[in-house]
């Protein structure tokens, strides 16, 4: 805690010094002037996606419901209750009763809304009854995204000493991802150059991402899978699509399946729809989109978060067309991404702005945290980052405020409690063995499920037969009708 404060203090002082230094220079004044011009210029109606509030995640996802119920608190309760239903797994038998309860609460003058509400609740119940049919009884802990394992592909594409910050970017993400639980066997780290053992490194065998040098990223326990000249476009595409040669070791393969969430982070020098690899070749946005499409065809991922920190980064994800991919980039077309600050002892810039601000948020996240990607994207400030970050979520199925950061950066696995042992006997124990099999308890679990603020539930899932759901619907509709007629 204290070291964190010290770090922050030093960091702030350094930034202040840097800012004062820059303010006097013309370059900075020009940059600010450019930004101001751009912001005025983008106030037109046909603004590109990157500069709309949605790109920064500033607009709420539930704009549509605001027209119904901003004034009436109980209506908004019902609306949020409707939206909080998870139709997929938990089919508690208490939900019809929950709806009566809410309807009874709503004793206001807006009886028209009450009628709409019970019709909506009727439809939802019908929907639920169809879905809740053949479910096993399982007790445990499940996230709502449907993934069972996490992978991370972290790529630094530039070589040479002055690109120290790209290696530092990648190693910072590596450290974050490991800290939040993804094991080394599920991380593929590609570093195009070795800056820690570069003869120009004043602090050999270390890589720092901050001028205060409090945290060595290259300490022990770093496993680089593709190093130096092995980081090529061909190797990258082969690794993503799975078409590696048969003698590739396991640590260099991406062994994801249809329930893996993959974080793909790339950094380096880039431009309009291309990213430069090793100063010799380029990968284009089409190649990347193609690789993702092949992964999608072969069901090699559940969801992908594609993060890229280069100049004109947002163009790299513009050609992707497979579902369940969420992309974020550091700067838009014709805009460069800037480094954050320089360490004057090492002599080069040590971290990029976009990655710096991402890390600032991620350092506050730990394995058990509930923070969502929406919150991460809300912290993007184009003035601080000095470029316009973009977010592409049109291919992504879940709303961003329901996606946890640990869904991509961490490794929170689902859990099922084992309630019984299989009654095995050994030959000499046929008569002596006591029966230890505990039969699963089959009583009905009818308490209400409270709408939790967590994004996950530990709950008991029961099998619902169709008949009881239908009875529930019928009773719900009768009571709803009675209430609405008496209120009107």
């Amino acid at each position: 805690m204290i070291t964190d404060l010290k770090k922050e203090n030093f960091d702030l002082k350094l930034r202040l010094y840097y800012l004062e230094d820059m303010m006097t220079k013309e370059v900075y004044q020009e940059k600010r002037a450019n930004l101001e011009h751009k912001s005025i210029g983008t106030q037109t109606n046909n603004k590109p996606f990157e500069s709309t509030p949605e790109a920064f995640g500033l607009a709420s996802c539930f704009n549509k419901s605001s027209q119904y119920s901003i004034k009436n608190h109980s209506i908004s309760l019902v609306v949020t209750a409707l939206e909080n239903i998870t139709i997929d797994e938990s089919c508690p038998s208490g939900t019809p009763f929950f709806f009566f309860f809410l309807l009874l609460l709503d004793k206001s003058l807006l009886f028209v809304m009450a009628r709409w509400n019970w019709i909506a609740s009727l439809l939802v119940l019908l929907f639920m009854s169809v879905y809740c049919d053949q479910q096993e009884k399982v007790e445990g802990f499940f996230s709502q995204s449907g993934h069972t394992n996490n992978w991370a592909v972290l790529v630094c594409t530039s070589r040479f000493w002055f690109n120290y910050r790209h290696v530092a970017n990648t190693l910072s993400m590596y450290r974050t991802v490991k800290r939040l639980g993804i094991p080394d066997s599920n991380i593929i780290l590609m570093l195009a150059d070795d800056v820690s053992c570069n003869p120009r490194n004043k602090y050999p065998a270390t890589v720092y991402n901050n001028a205060n040098r409090l945290l060595d990223l290259y300490g022990d326990n770093v496993e680089v899978d593709y190093r130096g000249y092995e980081v090529t476009v061909e190797n990258f595409i082969r690794m993503l699509t799975g078409r590696v040669s048969p003698d590739t070791p396991r640590s260099k393969r991406l062994l994801s399946d249809d329930r893996s969430n993959i974080l793909v982070y790339m950094t380096g020098h880039g431009g309009d729809e291309f990213l430069k690899f090793q100063d010799a070749e380029e990968i284009s946005a089409y190649d990347l989109a193609d690789s993702f499409k092949q992964m999608s065809e072969k069901k090699r991922y559940n969801e992908i978060l594609f993060m890229i920190d280069t100049c004109q980064a947002n163009t790299m994800y513009s050609k992707i067309n497979s579902t369940n991919i969420l992309a974020t980039g550091s700067s838009k077309l014709d805009e460069s991404s800037y480094s954050h600050h320089t360490d004057y002892d090492i002599g080069v810039a040590v971290i990029d702005s976009f990655t710096y601000y991402n890390l600032e948020f991620l350092e506050k996240v730990d394995q058990t945290s509930d923070k969502t990607l929406q919150e991460l994207f809300d912290t993007y400030d184009p003035v601080k980052i000095a470029s316009h970050p973009g977010i592409r979520s049109d291919l992504f199925n879940r709303p961003l405020d329901k996606v946890k950061v640990t869904d991509f950066f961490g490794n929170v696995q689902n859990v099922e409690l084992t309630k019984s042992r299989y009654p095995l006997l050994q030959d000499d124990q046929e008569n002596v063995e006591e029966e230890e099999k505990e039969t699963p308890v089959l009583n009905n679990y009818t308490s209400l499920t409270k709408p939790t603020s967590h994004l996950f539930d530990s709950f008991l899932v029961e099998k619902r037969s169709k008949s009881s759901a239908i009875i529930g619907i019928v009773v719900a509709s009768i009571i709803g009708y009675v209430i609405s007629t008496t209120l009107s």
């Binding site: 997929d88 802990f141 078409r243 396991r250 072969k298 859990v415 006997l425 530990s458």
Partner: protein, 525 residues
């Protein structure tokens, strides 16, 4: 003049003939080699044939000799088919054969190929169903005159319960439910799995722990694996890790009159496995690995238990991570000895937990869950567990059927993706060995469906495994990487500096030639 012009004409024509002769050569040699893939056949499989599978089942029902069996077989058959309410009725032909037996005798075990089941019926005062762990089961019914109705209510839930699922899988009618628990838990099919048993000792300073895992695996697990080897092979390794810390602290529960203990709640369990510090990854094989962990907490944190969602401690202290493996917590005995060794007998309850977890991970559908809701409440059903091997014959049959159909469907979808890929990227090289693998894969599919029709389930499974492996090898062949993005502008940019400087004088000369010959013709006329 005309001589010169004739020579000029011949020279220009000579140049042009070289160009024209060379053009097809150039086109052919710069073409990307693409073997002929059987697109049409793949399409046919995709749209129709997978759904045309046939999984026959045969029941032999033994009626006590006191009742008559005249035309009982056809009536039971009819009634079964009527009650078997499924849209896949044609895919699951059921054949019923009725014979007589003496009610006082014991039902005898019979061996038969997969798909054959023997049901012994006797009379009693209440309905009791005892399903054995081999192919026979003993059903006691009340009223012999209503035997057909009773049997047709009993047989579908017990024997044919999974058929609806199988039909859905084969005909691609899958519920698109991402959060379905079963599909999340079951490992994807692989012909080989690597199982690792790990003993994690939190603090060896208090107690050094060892275990007789080799003997325990040999007596308890090997029979199970031998039975399942029809479907997949398993390699087993084990390890002991000392100083295996947890990443979070358990909570402390105080109870009056009973000893206090530490516990974890279900929402903390996802962080139990400390992947960063426990070395669980295998670097040996690329086959999927299943990890089973036996965790021994340190003296400061024992006894350690797991609470369920109702805040009751679990008897088994075990939990399963879908598609990954299982974890059991065993508290160290409170002796003051420095060493403790888990004997084979101590490991028996633990191996029982591991076997039940392994069963769910492989995809063995437990018949006992939900059976009570599908039968009338006064029917008693008992399933005899397989105490020697860990998997009953009925479960094994279901597993073989499910994996066969899954493999067939996955093979078809892989081949379809391959065909689509080759179609969409005209630049992609398709070599001959890929073509041969694809054709072999299609052949195995045909053989598999033929074997299914002939009730030869084991061969059908093997063929389906061959099919999926060939299809995967073809799809993931290293040569299937498309050439990098090569748009038309690049093509123009490459060829123009070569061809334009040559073609300009050629074209000009040709035009001049044509003009000259026209003038000459005019002159002549």
């Amino acid at each position: 003049m005309s001589d010169d012009s004739k020579v000029t004409r011949k020279v220009v024509l000579a140049f042009w003939s070289v160009v024209l002769l060379g053009l097809p050569f150039w086109w052919k040699t710069t073409e990307v080699y693409r073997a002929n893939l059987p697109f049409a056949e793949i399409d046919v499989w995709q749209t129709r044939q997978a759904c045309d599978f046939v999984l026959p089942t045969q029941f032999t029902i033994y009626i006590p000799s006191t009742t008559s069996i005249s035309d009982l077989s056809t009536s039971i058959n009819q009634q079964l088919l009527n009650t078997f309410n499924s849209k896949f009725r044609d895919n699951f032909p059921i054949h019923v054969d009725v014979q007589q037996w003496n009610q006082d005798e014991q039902p005898e075990e019979k061996t038969a190929p997969i798909g054959n089941y023997f049901i012994y019926v006797s009379e009693s005062d209440k309905v009791d169903i005892h399903v054995g762990n081999q192919r026979t089961s003993h059903i006691k019914i009340k009223d012999m005159t209503r035997i057909t109705e009773t049997l047709s209510t009993i047989i579908p839930p017990v024997y044919l319960g999974q058929y609806e699922n199988l039909g859905n899988i084969a005909c691609h009618i899958e519920k698109k439910d991402k959060n379905d628990v079963t599909s999340m838990r079951v490992l994807k099919y692989s012909s080989q799995y690597e199982t690792t048993f790990s003993l994690m000792n939190n603090n060896p300073e208090n107690k050094r722990i060892d275990w007789e895992i080799r003997e325990a695996v040999h007596s308890y697990l090997t029979p199970f694996l031998k039975e399942v080897s029809a479907v997949s092979n398993f390699t087993i390794d084990s390890q002991i890790q000392n100083y295996a810390p947890l990443s979070l602290k358990p909570k402390y529960k105080e109870r009056e009159g009973r000893p206090n203990y530490y516990y974890f709640e279900p929402q903390h369990l996802p962080h139990f496995v400390n992947s960063a510090e426990w070395n669980l990854a295998s670097t040996i094989t690329s086959y999927p690995s299943i990890n089973f962990i036996l965790y021994v907490p340190s003296q400061e944190e024992s006894p350690l238990r797991i609470h369920d969602s109702k805040d009751q401690p679990l008897l088994t202290s075990a939990f399963l991570i879908p598609r990954w493996g299982g974890i059991t917590i065993k508290n160290p005995p409170k002796t003051s000895e420095q060493e403790y060794r888990f004997t084979k007998k101590d490991l028996q309850p633990i191996m029982k937990i591991f076997i039940s977890q392994l069963r769910s991970l492989i995809g063995i559908h437990d018949l006992e869950t939900n059976i009570h809701k599908q039968l009338p409440s006064d029917y008693q059903v008992t399933f005899e567990p397989a105490t020697k091997t860990g998997i009953t014959v009925l479960e094994k049959d279901n597993l073989i059927r499910m994996r066969t159909l899954e493999n067939v469907v996955n093979t078809i979808s892989t081949l379809k993706s391959l065909a689509q890929l080759v179609d969409e990227i005209p630049n992609m090289v398709v070599q001959d060995h890929i073509n041969s693998k694809v054709r072999q894969s299609l052949d195995t599919l045909t053989l598999a469906s033929e074997a299914l029709a002939k009730e030869n389930y084991v061969e059908a499974l093997q063929r389906s495994v061959q099919g999926i492996e060939l299809a995967e090898k073809a799809f993931f062949d290293p040569t299937m990487v498309s050439m990098l993005y090569f748009p038309d502008e690049h093509k123009y940019a490459i060829y123009m500096p070569l061809f334009v400087p040559i073609s300009v004088p050629l074209v000009m000369a040709f035009l001049k030639l044509v003009k000259q010959s026209k003038q000459q013709k005019l002159k002549k006329e």
